[in-house]
């Protein structure tokens, strides 16, 4: 075939372009920008972790007032003060009960919906999926406010029931999404293989689909629990004097007398979070929680 007009062995065009005269400053700028691109994340990471570290430190502060940092004497007084306070303990119990119940309802309804969404080829399933995820777009104050009105209209005056209603609706998008992500990743031919070997559809579901989807379901459940536990806005609207969640008690107490009990609580939450993250890494692998994208190795 006809090639370029240059003679054999020499490039078709003659001049080799010289790098611009300012080559040295470009190399310096290249190194500098590279270094900055490492420095900024490092600073941001410190920024994000610093308050937590300060809180952990302060939780062991022996002084009974909010003194200057750093503390010089250490004790467990603030942890004790949490357990000595009946309001906190009751709040903790209420929060746990609420979170467990809401998560359970959310998980069951959400996983069932996810199974249906993943298994069907119905045209409307994308719209339905968007509908199920829509509570995430609604501000939590709106959810709390609207359910309060709705519950009153239905003559539901039990605060705990109202709280469950509110917490279920805010957690269900997360359980659906997490279960769906897992279920969508299961290849259809695995279920087909099971049924060809003699399993009924129900058995195939139990033996193949459910175990493979369990990571998504567990992750969704964990997320729902934490979300419910930490929720303030919805709880503020729907609670009453006898059903107060821990966040509500906390905010009220800190309003009146800000002390370091909150530091102890923060430390406890941090420890719990570390456990959750390590658990996720051991069971699912953090790489898989985030995913590898199109070009992952």
């Amino acid at each position: 075939m006809k090639g370029a007009s240059g003679t054999r062995g020499s490039p078709a065009f003659v001049a080799t372009p010289a790098m611009p005269a300012a080559a040295n400053w470009r190399a310096a700028a290249d190194s500098l920008s590279g270094a900055l691109f490492w420095l900024i994340p490092a600073i941001v990471v410190v920024f994000l972790l610093l308050p937590i570290l300060v809180a952990v430190f302060l939780s062991f502060d022996d002084r009974d007032y909010l003194g200057a940092f750093p503390p010089t004497a250490f004790s467990l007084r603030w942890y004790r003060s949490f357990f000595d306070n009946p309001a906190y303990l009751q709040g903790l119990v209420t929060s746990i009960e609420l979170a467990l119940l809401s998560t359970a309802v959310s998980l069951v309804a959400g996983t069932a919906a996810a199974i249906a969404l993943a298994g069907t080829r119905w045209r409307g399933r994308h719209g339905l999926e968007a509908l199920f995820l829509s509570p995430r777009l609604v501000p939590t104050v709106v959810i709390g406010f609207s359910i309060l009105g709705f519950a009153s209209a239905l003559h539901i005056f039990d605060a705990f029931t109202r709280l469950v209603m509110g917490h279920v609706i805010i957690t269900i998008p997360f359980t659906i999404r997490a279960a769906l992500a897992s279920l969508v990743g299961i290849r259809r031919n695995l279920v087909e293989a099971a049924t060809s070997l003699g399993a009924s559809p129900w058995q195939a579901f139990l033996d193949v689909t459910l175990p493979l989807a369990k990571t998504g379901i567990i992750a969704g459940g964990l997320l729902a629990f934490v979300l419910s536990f930490d929720e303030v806005a919805v709880s503020l609207f729907l609670a009453d004097a006898f059903n107060q969640t821990l966040p509500i008690v906390l905010v009220a107490e800190m309003r009146t007398n800000l002390n370091l009990t909150v530091a102890a609580i923060a430390t406890a939450f941090t420890a719990l979070t570390v456990v959750i993250v390590v658990f996720l890494d051991r069971t699912v692998g953090l790489d898989n929680v985030i995913g590898k994208g199109l070009y992952g190795r």
Partner: protein
């Protein structure tokens, strides 16, 4: 293709929950927002009015909306900008330890109670914390009420930065890393590669992350509640005080509807924007 009976049964509970706990309550709230408020009386009056909405246009209330949007916008821009370097490194590094560390950190921050973080921030940047010099640095004394806004900024940043970064990790993972290498081999220093190749291709993802952060910020309730010290109030807090202090249910309902429309509007507008601007570039 119809929905099978089994599937319909499976979808029923979630659908019922959605209708009963989201759709119906909001519809009811919408109805309430058009009713007049009668002070001193529990429940709204009869008849229809637009007063609750008209009230919101007055300067006193517009101020709340402006504050909410202004702070939300700045925090979202910062969150996306600061998240880019972290996300890029997490997506590109071949060292397993680095990637796991960043993932673990971000997931941990997502799971960590926001309230715990907010009080920790108050203790750290507040009056007796170790970072009080920061106030002097930026010229706002720690004790002044203006400092509350600084703390709200910091609190919101702690809230949305992990989310933005996680989304951006996905964005960078889906950009072919060899494009950056190709650009470098063709003579572009790395800052040039970033501005001519990486960022243009990441733009849809950057906008999506911004949109999510913005929606999260303007809907947030706790951060101004705890760190705002009554000085910084978002429309969410306004909604709460309308109801809790004054029992003005219709006005609260009107604010709620406006907030809902705004939050959905932001998401819709940016989705359309991304789709129209970047339709051609989104193919690999």
């Amino acid at each position: 293709m119809r929905l099978s009976r089994v599937h319909r049964l499976l979808l029923a509970p979630a659908l019922a929950i959605l209708v009963a706990l989201l759709v119906a309550p909001i519809v009811l709230m919408a109805v309430e927002s058009f009713r007049p408020y009668i002070p001193g009386r529990v429940g709204s009056g009869a008849g229809w009015t637009l007063f609750n909405y008209a009230e919101l246009i007055s300067p006193a209330y517009a101020f709340y909306f402006w504050d909410t949007f202004r702070i939300g916008f700045i925090v979202s821009v910062l969150a996306v900008l600061l998240g880019v370097p972290i996300a890029w490194h997490a997506a590109r590094t071949r060292r397993h330890a680095v990637r796991v560390f960043i993932f673990g950190l971000l997931i941990g921050l997502l799971f960590l109670s926001l309230i715990a973080k907010l009080y920790a921030i108050q203790m750290t940047w507040g009056a007796s914390g170790p970072l009080t010099f920061f106030g002097r640095l930026i010229g706002i004394p720690v004790s002044s009420p203006r400092y509350a806004e600084v703390q709200v900024f910091i609190g919101l940043l702690h809230f949305v930065l992990p989310v933005a970064t996680l989304m951006l990790i996905g964005t960078f993972q889906n950009i072919n890393p060899q494009l950056e290498l190709a650009a470098e081999s063709l003579g572009a220093p790395r800052y040039d590669v970033a501005s001519t190749i990486t960022l243009p291709l990441a733009m849809p993802g950057l906008l999506a992350a911004f949109m999510i952060c913005f929606a999260m910020c303007i809907s947030n309730f706790v951060v101004p509640l705890i760190l705002g010290r009554g000085v910084v109030l978002f429309t969410t807090n306004l909604m709460y005080t309308r109801f809790s202090d004054v029992a003005n249910y219709p006005s609260g309902a009107a604010i709620g509807i406006v907030m809902l429309v705004l939050a959905l509007g932001v998401v819709y507008a940016l989705t359309v924007l991304v789709r129209t601007l970047f339709a051609e570039d989104l193919r690999p």
